[in-house]
């Protein structure tokens, strides 16, 4: 078999990156059921929670000097709570999607696939980055679906909105997904048990969700919660998405949002890759 072994093989450090990313994505798009489930879940969230919590209807009308629109605008930055929450969901859907990377790392270990990959000339970083990239592609798709559903259910865009806002949303969603999937991967790198990523997911998701502006504006939270929310990268992602889509008071802190989420993504990914050199062994 070594007779014509002189075939050109790629010596690139990342030659396995595309192969492994493609493997993950193929398993995803070849399963229409999972795709459909991934679409139904945000519909339920948006339709049930977003439409049920019609906050502006709670503010009594007819009281002189009280305008429900003004109160909504002041509190949420938009007159429509559904739009406020929907954009929170666009950002937050990345958490659900990327959490599966941790699961899939453990899964690959348990099924032995990881052992095979480790014995091939693919760098550890390529193995990790394939997980991160495929999760990020899925997250962008999911976020796109949520946004599309939000539009269909009557999203009220703000004056900041322009056609390129969509690309801004995808960009910030990509950054946060890279950061989160690296985080979930790093936390499960040494684990060989399925319980581990599940426990981590449950432990992390709740504070990430409620200590963020997904459902409620940060500046109306108690101080201690504000402190947590102000370092939560999800809050910055959500702020960026809302600023691009539904706010009307200018872009203001948008560069800060991108800088914070970008820094989070870069730092966590570097940490994850460094850990993989050390711990991604048999």
């Amino acid at each position: 078999m070594s007779k014509d072994a002189e075939t050109q093989v790629s010596k690139s450090r990342f030659h396995g990156l595309w192969a492994l990313t493609h493997r993950e994505l193929k398993k995803w798009y070849q399963q229409p059921f999972i795709l459909i489930m991934g679409v139904i879940q945000p519909i339920l969230w948006l339709a049930l929670l977003g439409k049920a919590m019609n906050l502006s209807a709670m503010i009594p009308s007819g009281i002189p000097g009280v305008s429900s629109d003004a109160i909504m605008m002041q509190t949420f930055g938009t007159t429509d709570y559904f739009s406020f929450m929907a954009m929170g969901m666009v950002a937050f859907t990345t958490v659900f999607t990327t959490a599966f990377t941790g699961m899939s790392v453990v899964w690959d270990k348990r099924l032995g696939f990881m052992n095979k990959v480790l014995s091939t000339p693919v760098s550890r970083s390529a193995i990790i980055l394939a997980k991160v990239l495929s999760a990020s592609v899925r997250a962008i798709f999911q976020a796109g679906i949520v946004a599309a559903i939000a539009f269909a259910l009557g999203l009220v865009t703000g004056s900041n909105f322009a056609w390129w806002s969509i690309f801004g949303v995808f960009a910030i969603v990509f950054l946060i997904s890279v950061g989160l999937s690296s985080l979930f991967t790093a936390l499960t790198l040494r684990s060989t048990r399925m319980e581990m990523p599940q426990a981590i997911f449950q432990l992390i998701t709740l504070p990430l969700m409620f200590a963020s502006s997904a459902y409620f504006p940060i500046n109306k939270m108690p101080d201690w919660l504000q402190a947590i929310a102000s370092v939560n990268p999800i809050s910055y992602t959500i702020d960026a998405v809302r600023r691009l889509m539904i706010f009307s008071d200018g872009f203001g802190p948008l560069p800060l949002d991108f800088a914070f989420v970008g820094a989070f993504a870069v730092i966590v990914t570097i940490i994850c890759v460094v850990l993989s050199w050390r711990y991604l062994n048999k």
Binding site: M1, S2, K3, A5, T7, Q8, V9, S10, K11, S12, H15, G16, W18, A19, L20, R23, K26, K27, Q30, L111, G112, F113, N115, K116, V117, L118, S119, T120, P121, V122, S123, R190, S191, T192, R193, N281, K282
Partner: protein
């Protein structure tokens, strides 16, 4: 460090888990070009740990090893490119088809699709999976999966192929087929093969040389024949009609005879070549007017070799479930 024809050179390789459990204990050996080299030992002897270190997915605690001149710790990428691995467990992605799995393996080695597509088809044909190539691996039987693993391990046309318990849990038919593949690889492609096994008959049937490993240490290395000969050769047991007469001297003069004992009226003869010696003995006895009434020829097996060097039989050495479990737990804690 290595002679030119030594493909694998191992010196003092050691793996200690958790600072306490020594799974592999300062082993040294070398494997020649084109050789089938087997690690024989019971479960828990350190075979898989050794293979994991050699294929660079586990870091040794001490010692070093070179494969095709590349250091397993410092040039692990070069080593990985040049070797093929058929692991003990099934590693294929169950959600993909057999064909897709082989192509994925090829991609991991950086083999361009223009080459790998043809190669994958050839390998599928070799392991007789062409008809199932577009079926998901989920639907494969154990034997088919094993063959797919073999095909994946061969995709980069490795110069050295590592097989960890290649026939573990396979039925007799599939096992024989696997042996034939392995022999074919050596014969057709001059491949060097390193395999681990705890089946004595597998080591005997396949390997050019065997290292018997026990408690992480190599106790003896040699060809199956050498090892068996080291026990003193084949044993011929015979009786003659006139039991009262002693013909010990007569027998000991026959060619290849190393030792003769008389026990309970029958003669126990050790010979370096039983098949040649037996007729010669019969001939000599007849020429001296005696009649042979019974004769049997026993060849020593690797089990006897194993007993000779470790003091217990292979089956006894399979550690009690409790010990194995404790060991597994310790190993898991070490890297969990």
């Amino acid at each position: 460090m290595s002679k030119n024809d030594d493909v694998i050179v191992v010196e003092g390789l050691t793996k200690v888990f958790n600072h306490s459990l020594t799974a592999v204990d300062h082993i040294s050996f070398s494997v020649k070009q084109g050789e089938i080299f087997g690690f024989l030992g019971p479960n828990g002897a350190g075979k898989t740990t050794t293979i994991n270190m050699l294929i660079t997915i586990m870091k040794p605690t001490e010692g070093k090893a070179e494969i095709l001149g590349g250091d397993i710790a410092k040039q692990s990428m070069d080593v990985r490119s040049a070797i093929g691995v058929v692991p003990q467990e099934y590693t294929a992605d169950e959600d993909l088809t057999g064909y897709e799995n082989i192509l994925l393996c090829a991609d991991l080695y950086g083999i361009p699709r223009s080459v790998s597509k043809k190669r994958a088809m050839d390998l599928l044909k070799l392991v007789e999976l062409t008809a199932f190539k577009d079926k998901r691996v989920q639907t494969y039987s154990g034997g088919m999966r094993r063959r797919l693993e073999l095909a994946c391990g061969l995709i980069n046309r490795p110069k050295v192929l590592f097989l960890d318990e290649p026939t573990l849990g396979l039925d007799v038919q599939t096992r024989t087929a696997t042996w034939n593949y392995v022999k074919m690889l050596k014969k057709e492609f001059g491949m060097t093969l390193f395999l681990t096994t705890h089946y004595l008959e597998e080591a005997d049937a396949l390997c050019d040389r065997i290292a018997i490993i026990d408690h992480g240490k190599i106790v003896v290395i040699g060809s199956p024949t050498e090892l068996k000969d080291s026990l003193g050769g084949d044993i011929i047991t015979l009786s003659i009609q006139k039991e009262q007469e002693d013909i010990t001297n007569l027998i000991s003069k026959v060619e290849h005879v190393k030792e003769v004992k008389k026990e309970n009226g029958s003669y126990i003869v050790k010979s370096s070549n039983g098949e040649l010696t037996a007729p010669l003995i019969i001939e000599a006895i007849r020429r001296n007017g005696h009649v042979v009434t019974k004769l049997s020829l026993t060849k020593p097996t690797l089990n006897e070799v194993y007993m000779q060097y470790t003091g217990r039989s292979m089956r006894d050495a399979e550690e009690s479930p409790g010990t194995v479990m404790a060991q597994r737990m310790a190993m898991r804690r070490a890297h969990a």
